[in-house]
Amino acid sequence: MPRRSFVDYLLGTSLGMVVAAIFYPILRFLVPPRIAESSELNVVAAKTAELKPNSGKVFPFGTEPAIVIQTPGGEIRAFSAVCTHLACTVQYRDDLQQIWCACHDGHYDLYGKNIGGPPPQPLTKLTANIRGDEIIVSKG
């Protein structure tokens, strides 16, 4: 009977569409996105070539800015770039060989310790490692 096959046809097609509507997102989900997760575990802060001695670079580290520096002596160190006074972003001063906050003249030494101006606390230290030609910064 034609009506019976119509109902069956309808049932089959509609259930098929529902199944497709379930499997399409699942299959898309399984394929990882193009930009692999920028995990805050390891962020490429800079290339070793671009960070010269006595210079620094501010880069995004998760939800906050961070700064990686190369001391005049050649050591690579990384800190949170959030000034501990009123949360402005700090920068490297090659003339002072210090880390400096422009907002109220806060000074930090190259170990992140607050040595002048209003900042009440040192900058949070981060771990910097060199992998090949990249400087990787991670927490802790």
Binding site: L10, L11, S14, L15, M17, A21, P60, T63, P65, D105
Partner: protein, 429 residues
């Protein structure tokens, strides 16, 4: 009559004795094996005569802590049990030191580096000499009995260390302490200077930072005026004073076209636009040619400087507006449930650039301001774009939902029809 004569002569003799005793009459603080008779008697007394002892014996009295006692300042002989012998002017006793003598009395110890470094090697010992350069010190020399001396701010019995948070000279309390005279209209009447500084400072951004946010690095009276050498900064040095914290603004200002003219006109640099005590958080409206602008106080329409002011104001407002726009759209996307925490973080950088641009305004050079604003505009633009993408993604989700719900509705209807068909067959069978 006789009593008065007696007291006066006693006073005069003790003053002389005190001057004589201004030689190195250093007390030995650790001579505590003997009983201090001053303390022994006066601790039994009430009111004015007993309170000083109680104050001295407080845990936080810095003199009492280090073994100093009555005789170290008042002179006399603490080993004597009888009042007369103890409070002997011959032994240097002074009941109430004269106001003019107080700096020298305190300076007896506090200006002696060799002595002070026993207690704190880093302690400064130039307070007395600084004081003599201050307005207070100069007026005191001329005989003004109302000006502040050491005891006015530091107290006399019960002196707390500066770093003690309950001390009247602790950073948080300095303004109040200065204000106890300077805000007292009646007291200050003979001097003819304003008495509204305290109120103005309290309403200022610096006052708020210190009083509301407890930011000890905020400037209070002594940070701009000096504490022992208290003097208002001269017109020429205002920018230097503000520039001790606001370094960049001061540097830019000194190189700007305003520096020389302001000095020539005797305008106090920063104070001209920002005021001295009643410094409020600057707004973008202060810049430019609008009603609330400070520029139009001097610059008239049609001049190139007027145009420059308008240009700079336009650049700053433009960036602020772009940031606001991006922030709004991202907030809208976030309210829709879209994940935009990354673009919101990136927008922060634009905020930083805006703060920087507002500092660069102090160069009063539109070219520099434009250069400062440009990177901020780029970032804000990107964030705005991300917001648009998020919103369109949300629309995509809603459309996708509508489609899925349609499929589901059709499937449910199909099942319903199938059931009806089956059950018809079952009931007829």
């Amino acid at each position: 009559m006789t009593g008065k004569l007696l007291t006066t002569s006693l006073g005069a003799i003790s003053a002389l004795a005190l001057f004589a005793a201004t030689g190195r009459a250093q007390p030995a603080p650790a001579a505590a094996a003997k009983v201090d008779q001053c303390v022994a008697c006066h601790s039994e007394l009430e009111g004015r005569l007993g309170d000083p002892v109680k104050a001295l014996q407080q845990k936080n009295d810095v003199h009492g802590q280090h073994g100093f006692s009555c005789a170290n300042c008042h002179g006399g002989d603490p080993s004597q049990g009888s009042g007369k012998a103890a409070m002997d002017p011959a032994k240097g006793f002074v009941a109430v030191p004269k106001r003019q003598d107080i700096p020298r009395l305190c300076g007896k110890c506090h200006s002696d580096p060799a002595f002070m470094k026993q207690f704190d090697p880093a302690e400064r010992t130039d307070q007395e000499s600084e004081y003599s350069t201050s307005v207070h010190g100069k007026r005191l020399k001329q005989g003004d009995q109302k000006v502040a001396v050491c005891t006015s701010c530091h107290g006399f019995h019960g002196v707390k260390a500066v770093k003690n948070s309950t001390a009247p000279v602790y950073a948080l309390h300095v303004a109040e302490t200065c204000g106890s005279c300077h805000a007292n209209v009646g007291y200050m009447q003979p001097y003819g200077i304003p008495t509204d500084q305290l109120a103005k400072w309290q309403s200022s951004v610096h006052g708020e930072a210190m009083l509301k946010k407890q930011d000890l690095s905020a400037p209070t009276c002594n940070d701009c005026h000096g504490n022992h050498g208290a003097t208002p900064p001269s017109v020429a040095s205002v920018a230097n004073v503000c520039g001790t914290c606001h370094v960049r603004q001061a540097e830019l200002f000194q190189k700007s076209p305003h520096a020389k003219p302001f000095q020539a006109l005797g305008n106090g640099a920063c104070v001209q636009c920002h005021s001295n005590h009643e410094i409020h958080h600057p707004s973008d409206e202060m810049l430019g040619v609008g009603k609330q602008s400070v520029c139009v106080e001097c610059h008239f329409e049609g001049t190139s400087s007027f145009k420059a002011a308008a240009a700079m104001s336009g650049q700053i407002s433009d960036l602020a507006a772009q940031i606001r726009r991006a922030g709004e759209i991202l907030q809208e996307a976030s309210n829709d449930g879209m994940e935009v925490s990354r673009p919101q973080f990136d927008l922060r950088e634009a905020g930083n650039k805006l703060i920087n641009a507002r500092v660069v305004v102090h160069s009063f050079a539109p070219g520099q301001v434009e250069a400062a604003v440009k990177p901020g505009l780029e970032v804000a633009g990107k964030a705005h774009q991300a917001g648009l993408v998020a919103l369109s993604d949300f629309q995509f989700r809603r459309k996708g939902l509508a489609v899925s719900l349609l499929f589901i509705a059709i499937a449910v209807a199909a099942i319903f029809l199938k059931l009806r068909q089956i059950e018809r067959r079952q009931s007829s069978a």
